[in-house]
């Protein structure tokens, strides 16, 4: 590390690493130099000329965004000359910018608006005609209003650099320059909407949010996206109990500003017309609406009856419910119903990985590691399509730290473009492909290995052995599918393991075995849809389903209890890399209750509430922190909306690995299991329809 450079900015002494830009150095002492085109993490543009500053001994104003710090430099950021330059730059900008702030979606959170207020450039001397071009719709989610565009090229850069898509470019030149989509009149891309968020003005607007409300009219609820396992924070804009938009402009959470289409637009299932808002009970073979008290009483009665005669219960948990709900559910099943027939859909072999890594410390990667480590090996996964945030981290790592990326996959993936080496393998040949990279990987100083569901069982052990043989620090990520797939495993939603990967002494049935069993008397499904692709053998079993929609499983149910979505409750979820984050309640759907409450109310109606404890998320999480191995995470981080990394084990897990049960649904950017079927937005984009 070279010695820091000393300089003065607005009279404040600053020390910054050599090569730091003045605009960044100013931030170190709390001075905000305005800019439109400069954007942290993206390439430099120096096009907007808002960051011009006065530097002593320089003949003219210099752009702070491209000016590296120099020893003894004296910078002034708010002199009358600078303020005047900015004011007139704004005057130039406003010549063709329509003054339609009252109708513009960006009004109230517009960087141009703020800047005009700051420099008093509201009055213009411009009296010629303004340029006008009509607004264009590029996709169901992206609209472009050319006249509002200030051509800062942030969207172009985030699309090509951040997303690796490069769907946006510039056409024409001079004042009639425009941003243009990659397919003439429409976009074919990830439809992530990063371009919309990053737009400092209202040139790019979102199909869901357009003209619906104004930013100050909404409650902004920072919660965790409920789709894939990456655990991105999404800030929901909620008005009148309805989610109107999702974004993460405050760059909080592990994902910073990154969100894919699911996090940004995939919230609309919450007010889907088919959303269940009242419990349903089977009367004369047909499901009919019932009140909560009646439905709960019926469930409690049946459960009590079967429990009394030690009948057979099967419990299937969810990959979307919170840790608290999962923990509470397995506790209820194991201690109240007395059954170990509890399982969920497994999508990655975390168990074998944790077992293989026993005895080592710090071998589990976080999402931050993917951005910081010097090399990344991707095995058998199309990250950009299935794990978009992890892919984003790797791309950012490549751009900012020149990380070397190695890819071993069956098909072409977007990571090929930044890869130091790519190995194409046949199905099942992933491990051989990894071995072929051994010599190259040995030259690296550190490595993160990300592997999909093609590496499971013994293959995981072999992969870890390979990692150990490299002689460098290696961290691992076992990919799983959904928002709390990892949490479901951690909380013991499997027959062979209790919470914290403690072996269960009397393993029960797996999902497949439950459906195959003819003697099953009660099947209780919480937020899962096992009957989508399988039939149930036990014709007479009493089926209780907690669901948001009338899924295939719910249609078979005797009692359906409407559940709240992840956006409508509190609790914690654990992402693919084992980082725990807290959900916040955004809207509420009338009639639906959080699963935790439903389970608690069933326990209450059975008269067994004391056995499972209160159904309050915080209380349950207290219990999890106290009892589940690896979950003694600092509450301060969780409460503040941060992500706490869990270290679930450091000892052997003496259970038989079940690679046969592990299969990823391979959801892409535009599908999200059952949930995705009820998101109009995901279904509306053409890429989603093709997929």
């Amino acid at each position: 590390m070279a010695a820091p450079v000393k300089l003065t900015i607005d009279g404040k002494a600053v020390e910054a690493a050599p090569g730091t830009l003045v605009i960044d150095a100013a931030k170190l002492v709390g001075i905000n130099i305005p800019s439109f085109c400069y954007y942290e993490g993206l390439t430099l543009q120096a096009a907007c000329r808002m960051c011009l500053v006065e530097v002593e001994k320089a003949p003219k104003l210099l752009a702070a965004c491209t000016l590296p710090v120099a020893e003894g430099m004296v910078v002034r950021t708010e002199t009358p000359v600078v303020a005047e330059a900015r004011k007139y730059t704004l005057e130039f900008l406003l010549t063709n910018h329509p003054l339609d702030c009252p109708v513009c979606d960006k009004g109230g959170e517009c960087e141009l608006q703020d800047m005009v207020f700051r420099y008093g450039a509201g009055e213009s001397r411009y009296s010629e005609n303004k340029l006008h071009v009509d607004e264009k719709q590029w996709s169901p989610v992206v609209f472009y209003d050319g006249p509002r565009c200030i051509l800062c090229f942030r969207c172009v850069r985030i699309c090509s650099e951040g997303m690796g898509v490069g769907a946006l470019g510039i056409v024409n030149r001079g004042a009639v320059s425009e941003i243009a989509p990659n397919h003439g009149d429409h976009l074919e891309c990830d439809e992530c909407g990063m371009c919309i968020d990053i737009c400092p003005v209202g040139a790019l607007t979102s199909g869901t949010y357009r003209y619906k409300t104004r930013p100050w009219e909404m409650d902004h609820v920072g919660t965790i996206c409920t789709h894939c396992s990456n655990g991105c924070k999404t800030t929901l804009g909620v008005r009148n109990g309805q989610i109107i938009r999702g974004n993460n402009r405050d760059r909080s959470g592990i994902n910073g500003e990154f969100l894919c289409i699911k996090g940004r637009y995939g919230f609309d299932f919450t007010d889907h017309p088919e959303r269940l808002q009242s419990p349903l009970m089977r009367v004369n073979g047909k499901l009919e609406a019932a009140s909560w008290s009646v439905a709960l009483a019926a469930v409690a009665k049946k459960f009590s009856e079967v429990r009394a005669r030690h009948g057979s219960f099967g419990v299937i948990g969810s990959t979307h419910t919170t840790n608290e709900e999962n923990y509470y559910l397995q506790k209820f099943a194991r201690s109240v119903l007395g059954t170990n027939h509890i399982d969920h859909h497994r999508s990655g072999d975390v168990v074998t990985l944790l077992d293989a890594l026993s005895g080592t410390a710090g071998s589990l990667s976080t999402t931050a590691d993917l951005y910081e480590r010097k090399a990344v090996l991707v095995v058998g996964a199309d990250l950009s399509s299935q794990q978009p945030f992890l892919a984003f981290q790797i791309r950012a790592n490549y751009r900012h730290h020149q990380a070397r990326v190695y890819v071993v996959t069956e098909n072409e993936v977007r990571e090929d473009g930044i890869a130091a080496a790519t190995v194409r393998v046949d199905k099942g040949g992933e491990l051989a492909g990894v071995h072929s990279l051994a010599e190259k990987l040995k030259t690296e100083s550190e490595l993160v290995i990300v592997f999909g569901d093609s590496i499971k069982g013994e293959a995981v052990r072999e992969l870890v052995a390979f990692g150990n043989s490299l002689g460098i620090p290696v961290k691992y990520v076992a990919l799983v599918d959904y928002s709390n797939s990892r949490g479901a495993l951690d909380m013991g939603l499997v027959p062979e393991l209790l919470p914290g990967y403690q072996p269960s002494n009397q393993p029960g049935m797996t999902v497949g075995e439950m459906l195959e069993s003819e003697s099953l008397e009660v099947l209780w499904v919480v937020g899962a849809n096992p009957l989508e692709s399988a039939a149930m053998k036990a014709k007479d079993a009493f089926v209780v389903v907690q669901e948001m929609f009338l899924t295939e499983t719910a249609q078979r149910a005797d009692i359906v209890l409407p559940a709240a979505s992840a956006y409508e409750k509190t609790g914690t979820v654990t992402n693919v890399t084992g980082e725990v984050q807290r959900l916040k309640t955004g809207p509420s759907t009338m009639g639906a209750k959080p699963d935790l409450e439903i389970i608690g109310l069933i326990a209450r109606d059975m008269g067994l509430a004391a056995a499972v404890g209160p159904w309050i998320a915080d209380k349950v999480f207290e219990e999890i922190r106290a009892t589940v191995k690896g979950y003694s995470v600092p509450m301060a981080i969780i409460s503040a909306g941060g992500a706490a990394h869990t270290m679930p084990v450091n000892g052997r897990i003496p259970v038989e690995s079940r690679p046969d049960l592990i299969h990823s649904s391979r959801d892409n950017l535009f599908t999200s299991g059952t949930l995705g079927r009820y998101s109009k937005m995901l279904g509306s984009v053409m890429e989603g329809r093709q997929a």
């Binding site: 702030c101 009252p102 996709s139 976009l187 100050w216």
Partner: protein, 166 residues
């Protein structure tokens, strides 16, 4: 006795002065209004029940920018916005107020909403007889607040391409 005479004179003078005012006022026009027998007269800028204005072609001036609601100290304005389309055009801008409610049980007639309005859509009318025994009737909906369309107003024909079907 001079005191007595002075007193009489002073009294007479006082009566004369008083009566002069009386007679003068008897001659001048009356100020008191005969409300409710006659309609009251308003100053131009009297702040009464709001009127949502229309433009010359009958389109609503309100573009649902929510600035009135933001300015309202009593928080009595509730708006739901929606987008104008080629087929349904309600206002002159891209957006219009699908719902526009003013809760007159909260409104303090301060006029901040009128000040805030960038399109001169919301104005104070002269309506004031809104007392009610039931507060629920005091929430006025858009239909009740809107000015009538000017006679013969025809909304302009809008030629917009239908959004492409992606």
């Amino acid at each position: 006795m001079p005191n007595k005479i002075e007193e009489i004179l002073e009294t007479a003078a006082a009566i004369a002065k008083g009566m002069s005012v009386t007679f003068k006022e008897m001659m001048s026009p009356t100020v008191t209004e005969n409300y409710p027998d006659e309609p009251p007269k308003f100053e131009e800028r009297f702040r009464g029940v709001h009127v949502l204005q229309r433009d010359e072609s009958g389109l609503e001036k309100c573009v649902a920018c929510f600035l009135c609601a933001a300015a309202c100290p009593a928080q009595c304005i509730y708006i739901e916005a929606a987008e104008n389309t080629g087929a349904v055009r309600i206002s002159g801008g891209e957006r219009y107020a699908q719902a526009y409610n003013i809760d007159y049980s909260r409104c303090i007639f301060c006029g901040y909403c009128v000040e805030a309005c960038p399109t001169d859509a919301i104005t104070h009318g002269h309506g004031f007889e809104i007392a009610s025994f039931n507060t629920s009737t005091l929430v006025y909906r858009k239909e009740r607040l809107l000015a009538p369309a000017p006679p013969g107003a025809r909304p302009p024909e809008i030629f917009t391409e239908a959004p492409s079907a992606h």
